[in-house]
Symmetry: C2
Subunit: 222 residues, 2 copies
């Protein structure tokens, strides 16, 4: 049904199970509608049900699993889910950007250069996964700098989904450099201090990302 290898060392077994299942669900290797049974998963991962329970609860919170009558079921990610993820994110990140532009100092913004360099480097090497990582790291700074704990919390809830999603779809892009440069433009906007204009730029940025993802997914094996 799906491959179970070995559980790499993780802070906790549950966390590792979360990572595994998350990947399987988002990539569709675990078909939507699949019934996940605690007992069976425990046997397959060869651990007890405790950590499995923790993992399933977490994934439910991430919207990847759905609790129905008995047990949890896999919720696949189709086009409407991509739509949901990006509209929600646009809403959250706009608020984060507004707040961070009110609070952050030039030194704070300087920390965004690291992820940009990492993106360029990943683009040079053609590493889709590293690019996705740096990309999300860049955007995460907005949340951190917003000084809004709950905003950070909600973002972190969905960030792993974007991470897997981006890693997969980026792999189809021939050249990731344009995307890296788009972030440079975003950083310039932030530094200009023009909030409204930069928020619009962010919206456009995310709209573009959404469309690229839709295109990639329409073409890819789904």
């Amino acid at each position: 049904m799906y491959e179970i290898t070995s559980l790499r060392q993780a802070t906790t077994l549950g966390e590792e199970v979360v990572r595994r299942l998350r990947y399987l669900v988002i990539t569709g290797r675990l078909a939507p509608g699949t019934h996940l049974v605690e007992d069976r998963l425990a046997r397959e991962f060869d651990i007890s049900r405790g950590p499995i329970r923790d993992a399933l609860r977490k994934l439910e919170g991430e919207g990847l699993l759905e609790s129905r009558r008995r047990g949890l079921f896999v919720v696949g990610l189709d086009e409407s889910d991509v739509e949901e993820l990006y509209t929600l994110r646009e809403s959250l990140e706009s608020l984060a950007l507004r707040r961070s532009m009110e609070r952050a100092t030039p030194e704070d913004w300087a920390t965004l250069q690291g992820p940009i360099d990492a993106m360029r480097d990943a683009a040079d090497r053609g590493s889709a996964e590293d690019f996705a990582s740096a990309d999300l790291e860049f955007h995460s700074r907005f949340y951190e700098l917003s000084g809004h704990r709950r905003l950070v919390s909600v973002w972190e809830q969905y960030r792993p989904t974007f991470s897997v999603l981006l890693s997969v779809t980026n792999a189809q892009d021939a050249d990731l450099h344009p995307s890296a440069e788009a972030h440079v433009a975003l950083l310039e906007g932030v530094r200009s201090g023009d909030v409204e204009s930069t928020v619009r730029e962010l919206s456009a940025h995310l709209l573009g990302a959404k469309n690229r993802m839709r295109a990639a997914r329409a073409k890819g094996a789904h």
Copy 2:
């Protein structure tokens, strides 16, 4: 330290513990910074650690507890938290309102009349708790009608906090009728079909709610 009575019948023990602790944390009976130890809680509630663990994880997700080095600690709700809760909500609910105005039918909007009647009734009786309940039920419809699963999910994550918070602060308001009528105005806006104007009205509505809450909390015992 805090009173433990008996665990009323609930769908699950963990859920009941969640309700209890949530109330204690939000009302401040459980002081910010308090270290919650699984073993001790299990003994106090006279149940095993399993359901306690579930409860603590859930409350952490709601932002009421914070995971530090060892175990979970109570995060109090101060003025900045009220600020956070309402700014986040404004962001989410604006999106929900926009989407629901694009999708919902007149019959859908008709279902908002029930909560309004309930608010008026609760205002007549002076029941702060029932008013809060109907109030949130009214707003929840926006999320449901938005057809956006993740938006609903995030809202449901914070709704219980608003529920307790409103119940407590509403109890200080002499007359709840004005608040009920504000919702009527909101419903009229929705029916008018003018999205931008109604979104602005919602923002003003929530801003007013936030300020009333701040005033009530500044005056109340905190």
